[in-house]
Every structure is written in C-alpha cells, then in structure tokens.
Symmetry: C2
DNA sequence: AAAGCATGCAAGTGGTTGGTTGCATTTTAA
DNA sequence: TTAAAATGCAACCAACCACTTGCATGCTTT
C-alpha cells in the first residue's frame, strides 16, 4: 500500500494533535500548516476542504476500530478478563480521544461523527455481553446476575472513567489507571461471582 | 432581589438554549439576538462580550449547584437511597448539560469552566462517600466493601450514563431513565449488602 | 534526461463574527 | 409627570477564516 502523498500523514497527524489540544474550531488551517511545516494550499490539495480532514480522521478511526479486540484472549478468570477488556477499551479510547472530542464539538458539521463515536461503546458492549453470557453458561457468575445490567454497568463505568481522565483534573475524582483496574474493575468483578 | 435588566434573563436563557442545540461557536451573537427578540447591541450592553455570557452561565450554574442536594433526605434503605441520590444528580446534570458541553468546547476561552464542571462530580462524590461511610458504620453494607471504590464506581456509572444520554442515540446503548434507576442502580446497590 | 507530480509561494476573495458608537425611542421608577 | 435608564437601530470596523489560483520550483519515476 503506497501512501497517498508524502505530506498526507503529517498533515493528518498534526490535525489530530491540534484537535486534542483545542478542538475543531481552534484547529485552523494555518495552524495545521505551520506546525506541519506545510503550505496551506497543500492541505486543500490533499483534503479538498476542512470537512475532508474530518472525514479522514473518521475513516482512520473506523479502520482502527475494526481491529481493536483482535488478539485479545480471555483467561477464564473473571477479574483478570474484565481488567484485560477494560484496559483494551481504555487504551483505544485514549488513543482516539480526538474523535470523542469532536463528537462534542463538530456534530453539526458532520453528523456521521457521532455514529463513529458511538460505535466504540456499541462494539465494547457486544464483547462484554457475549463474555458475560458465556460465563453465565459456564456458571462462573451467579445465576441471579442480570447480564444486560452487568454489561451496561461496566460499559458506563468505563465510559465515565475515560471521560474523567481526559477532561478532569481535580484530585478528588482522579484515579490512576492501575487503581482503576485493580480496584474499580475488580470491585465490580467480585460482585458477579 | 431585583433583576438586572428586563432582557438579561431572556438573553441568557436563549444563549443556554443555543449552547445545547449547537455548542459555543454556533451560539452566535446574532442568533441569540434574533431568537431572544433583542438587538445585538443590547447583548453587549448587558454582558460586555461573549465571554461575559459564558461567565454568566458559569455563575448561574455554580449558584444552582450549591443547592442541589438540599431537601434530599435519606430513607436508610440502600437501594432506595442510591436511586434518590442518582436521580438527583442525573436531573441536575441534564438540566445543566450546557456547562458540560461548553466544558468540552470552550475550555480554551475560559479555563474556569472546567473547574465548574468538575464541581458537580466532586460534590456528588462527597455526598456518596459520606453516605457509604455512614452505612458502613451502621453495618448496612458489608464490612469488606471498599468505600472509596464503591463511591467512584457509582460516580462513574452515573457520569457515563449521563453522557450517553445527552450524546448517544444508538438503541443498543440507550436505556430509559427508569431502567437505569431500577436495574443499574439497584444492581449496584445489591452488590453492597 | 525528460516528464509528471507534489509542493511552495504570494496575492487575493468573500463570508462571518465579535464588537463599537451615536442617536432616537421606549420603558421604568420616583 | 418627569427624569433616568434600558433598548432599538443602523452603519461600521477589524480580524479571522476557509478557500482559490497561477506560477515557479523541486522531487520522483521511468
């Protein structure tokens, strides 16, 4: 696979970086050009217009998303598995936080962004639901557990934590990643068995 | 307490409405003026500049926040109490979603917005932490429960659910408010006793 | 070496937005 | 009723931004 042009990736990466730093409106063509050491006209030649840049971000995101849980294998130990799944989800979210941020900012310019953002939790939910169903069949979690409730619970827990991490600073509501996995996720996992 | 001017509130309410509909950049002075049936110059006379509008939103928000848990009384039944607390939090969040949205959008223009946004979960955490500590003293929740973990768990669960509600549309990850309280919160509460 | 393609450069365009100002008019309060 | 305060109005400004274009230059490929 040959790269589209030599500057294409550099521009796109710079754009994403600026998105994270200041959001969509703040990611000006001239800022991108300057930081990517590229002429503004080059940006338009590669991406047509600013929406084209957004599109490219969404495309790249969807491509990455499709492989997020590839190579992740379960151990059969509930606690460990939920940590692994949560960690996989969290790392992907943080690595792709720009799509979430512009989902909050540019949903008007590009409604399909929200669809792309949604797909992350939708996929994660499917993985979790399948896992819990499986574990229930194997009697590794209690009979009385509502799989749907457990799934959504863990989903929102992860989603809430992720957004706290990327937006909040306050010490009272900050938690290190290790604490999150070792305390929160395991706390949750224990309630299932 | 006398209102500042007759148009002040109308402008501010219109601004908030537009913030929810389309975000900060989209909430143009001329849009506000048109919908509030007011002349653009009146907006500047009342709020100095656009940041002044933001400031006013933040001020109003902080004022409302200070009374959020006033008049909320506990029953002693864990499940019911956690539903009440979550409901109080959720309703406040939805009623003040604009501050969260602009926290994602205008944090650059006004860094103090994020502080204001943070204060909601910070306060909620304190309420929850106190409640759990109290219940533990009364032996109404298990000895082995880590209060901090339980608190953060419920906090992120609520935060994640709230953001899902205001941003997501996908049927797979949508849940009615009643389902959230009756299934999720009670599911969580049961794990404590 | 030649041809084609990507890029740099510079000047410019049109639209939008936040913000100002002076004056006429309406609303409010004493 | 009257004075003061709040608003409407309209013209205007400066800044910024996305985007265009024509041409020169450099790089890559064959």
């Amino acid at each position: 696979m040959t790269k589209k042009t030599s500057k294409y990736d550099k521009i796109l990466n710079t754009f994403i970086q600026l998105l994270i730093e200041g959001g969509y409106q703040s990611a000006t063509i001239s800022k991108i050009a300057e930081r990517a050491e590229v002429n503004p006209s080059t940006i338009f030649r590669n991406f047509t217009d600013k929406k084209g840049l957004l599109s490219a971000v969404v495309d790249r995101h969807l491509k990455d998303l499709s492989t997020i849980f590839d190579g992740v294998s379960m151990t059969g130990n509930i606690e460990d598995d939920l940590v692994i799944l949560s960690k996989t989800y969290q790392e992907f979210q943080v690595d792709h936080q720009e799509i979430v941020l512009i989902g909050f900012q540019a949903a008007l310019e590009m409604p399909e962004i929200n669809k792309a953002v949604e797909e992350i939790p939708v996929l994660f939910k499917k993985i979790l639901g399948d896992y819990f169903s499986d574990m229930k069949k194997q009697h590794k979690i209690r009979e009385t557990i509502d799989v749907e409730a457990a799934t959504m619970n863990l989903l929102w827990l992860n989603f809430g934590y992720f957004l706290s991490v990327i937006r909040f600073d306050h010490p009272n509501i900050s938690t290190s990643a290790t604490d999150f996995y070792d305390k929160q996720i395991r706390f949750f996992a224990k309630s299932l068995v």
